[in-house]
C-alpha cells in the first residue's frame, strides 16, 4: 500500500515530496497556458505574418518591424510620411500622418497601430518607437562602423 511505503518517510521529507509534485504540476500547467497564448500574447504582427495572411481592412492591428534604411520620405503635404517596415523576409509599405516619437529613425524598430488597406499599404494612426537592447554613448556614434564594433567587442 502507498501509505505503508510513505510511512517510512519522515514528515519533513513527505512534505518535500508533496511540494515537489505540486510544483511540477504547477509548472506544467503554466507551460501549457504559455504555449496556448503564444500567438495571442504577442503585441504585434511582423511583416511576414501580415503578408502571408493579410488582416481584413476594417480590423485594427499592430505591425512591428524595422524601418528600412533609405525608405523614409515625407509626402508633399508635409505631415504625411511614408516608409517601409521589414523583418528580413517581407516588406510592408506604411503611411502615417502626425507626430512621430523621437526614437523613430531609419534602421530602428517601430510598432505601427492601424489598418491594412486592400492595396497592401498599411495606414497607421499611431506610431510607437521600439528601442533595441543596445545602449551606446553619443560619442561612439561618430566612429566608423569598425571602430564602434571594436569598442562594443571590448565591453562584451
Amino acid at each position: 500500500m502507498a501509505s505503508a511505503a510513505n510511512s517510512g518517510l519522515k514528515p519533513k521529507h513527505q512534505r518535500l515530496v508533496l511540494l515537489v509534485i505540486a510544483l511540477v504540476v504547477l509548472i506544467a500547467a503554466a507551460l501549457l497556458a504559455i504555449w496556448a497564448l503564444r500567438n495571442q500574447a504577442s503585441y504585434f504582427y511582423v511583416p511576414s505574418e501580415i503578408v502571408a495572411d493579410p488582416p481584413s481592412p476594417d480590423r485594427a492591428v499592430r505591425l512591428g518591424g524595422m524601418v528600412e534604411a533609405g525608405s523614409l520620405r515625407t509626402e508633399p503635404d508635409g505631415v504625411t510620411i511614408a516608409f517601409v517596415v521589414q523583418d528580413g523576409e517581407a516588406q510592408v509599405p506604411v503611411r502615417f500622418s502626425g507626430i512621430v516619437p523621437s526614437l523613430f529613425v531609419e534602421g530602428s524598430g517601430v510598432v505601427a497601430e492601424g489598418k491594412m488597406r486592400a492595396d497592401g499599404t498599411f495606414v497607421a494612426d499611431n506610431l510607437l518607437a521600439k528601442h533595441d537592447e543596445n545602449y551606446v554613448p553619443r560619442e561612439m556614434q561618430n566612429m566608423t562602423e569598425k571602430q564602434a564594433k571594436q569598442v562594443v567587442a571590448e565591453t562584451q
Binding site: 519533513k12 512534505r15 518535500l16 511540494l19 505540486a22 510544483l23 504547477l26 509548472i27 503554466a30 504559455i34 497564448l37 503564444r38 500574447a41 504577442s42 503585441y43 504585434f44 504582427y45 511582423v46 512591428g64 512621430v100 516619437p101 523621437s102 526614437l103 523613430f104 529613425v105 530602428s108 524598430g109 510598432v111 499611431n126 506610431l127 510607437l128 518607437a129 521600439k130 528601442h131 533595441d132 537592447e133 543596445n134 545602449y135 551606446v136 554613448p137 553619443r138 560619442e139 561612439m140 556614434q141 569598442v151 562594443v152 571590448e154 565591453t155 562584451q156
Partner: protein, 243 residues
C-alpha cells in the same frame, strides 16, 4: 539554516547587520546614481533620458527578487516549518511591492519620450503589473491569515509559491512574445550595454539590493518585537486574571 531557528540568535546578528546594510546601501546607491546622473554619457538615440535606466533596472530586479524571497521562504515554511520563514516573507512583501511600483512608474515616464506612449499592454509591462497586484494580494492575505508566531501562515506561503510562476514569465516575456519592450540587454556573460552605462548600473543594483536587505531585516526585527510585546501583554493579562 536551522541555526537561525532561534530568533534570539537571529536578532543578535540582525542588530548590527541591519544598519550595516542600510548605510552601505545608501553610500553605494548615492555614488552610483551620482555617477549615472551627472558623469555618464548621453545615449546615442535616447539622449539624457537613458539615465532613468539606473533606477528602472535595479527596481525591476528587486521587484522580482522580492517575490523570489517570498516563494523561497514559503518553501522553507511548508517543508521545514522554519519559524523565521513566514516572518521573512511578510517582511519582504512591502519593499518588493514598492520596488515593483518604482519600476512601473519609471518605465512609464521613460516610455513617453522614447516609445511615444505612457503604457502599452505588451507581455513585459502586463506581467510586471500582475506582479504588483500579486504583491497587494499577498500583503492582504498574509496579514489576514497571520499565524501565532507572527509569520505568514500556510495559505500565504502557498500563494507565494504559486505566484512565483510569474517571475520567469516576466523574465522571458520579451523573448517568447513580440513586445514593445526591448529584449534583454544583459544575457549570460554578454552585455549590449556600453561599459559607460554598465558600471553605474551594476553599482546601483548592488546598492538597491543592500537597501532592500536592510529594510527586510529591519522589518523582521519589528515583527519579532511585536510578537514579544504581544506575548508579554498576554502574560500580564493572565497574571492579572489569576489575582
Amino acid at each position: 539554516m536551522h541555526g537561525f531557528a532561534n530568533p534570539a540568535r537571529f536578532l543578535r546578528i540582525a542588530r548590527w547587520l541591519t544598519p550595516a546594510c542600510l548605510v552601505a546601501g545608501l553610500v553605494v546607491t548615492l555614488a552610483a546614481l551620482a555617477y549615472g546622473l551627472f558623469a555618464a554619457p548621453a545615449d546615442r538615440l535616447m539622449g539624457d533620458t537613458v539615465r532613468i535606466l539606473f533606477i528602472h533596472v535595479p527596481a525591476a530586479w528587486l521587484g522580482m527578487a522580492g517575490w523570489t524571497t517570498i516563494a523561497g521562504a514559503g518553501v522553507a515554511e511548508l517543508v521545514w516549518r522554519h519559524p523565521l520563514a513566514g516572518i521573512a516573507a511578510r517582511a519582504a512583501a512591502v519593499p518588493g511591492a514598492a520596488f515593483t511600483a518604482i519600476c512601473l512608474a519609471t518605465g512609464s515616464i521613460w516610455g513617453r519620450p522614447t516609445w511615444g506612449t505612457w503604457w502599452v499592454w505588451d507581455g513585459r509591462l502586463t506581467s510586471m503589473l500582475v506582479l504588483l497586484f500579486l504583491y497587494f494580494g499577498y500583503i492582504a492575505l498574509a496579514d489576514a491569515t497571520r499565524g501565532e508566531g507572527g509569520g505568514s501562515g500556510r495559505v500565504a506561503a502557498i500563494f507565494g509559491i504559486v505566484g512565483a510562476i510569474n517571475v520567469p514569465i516576466i523574465n522571458r516575456s520579451v523573448v517568447w512574445w513580440n513586445s514593445l519592450h526591448q529584449p534583454p540587454s544583459i544575457t549570460m556573460g554578454k552585455s549590449a550595454i556600453d561599459a559607460a552605462f554598465l558600471w553605474p548600473l551594476l553599482g546601483a543594483t548592488v546598492g538597491f539590493s543592500l537597501l532592500f536587505a536592510g529594510v527586510v531585516l529591519a522589518r523582521m526585527r519589528a515583527i519579532l518585537a511585536d510578537i514579544q510585546a504581544e506575548a508579554r501583554l498576554r502574560r500580564k493579562a493572565m497574571a492579572r486574571a489569576e489575582d
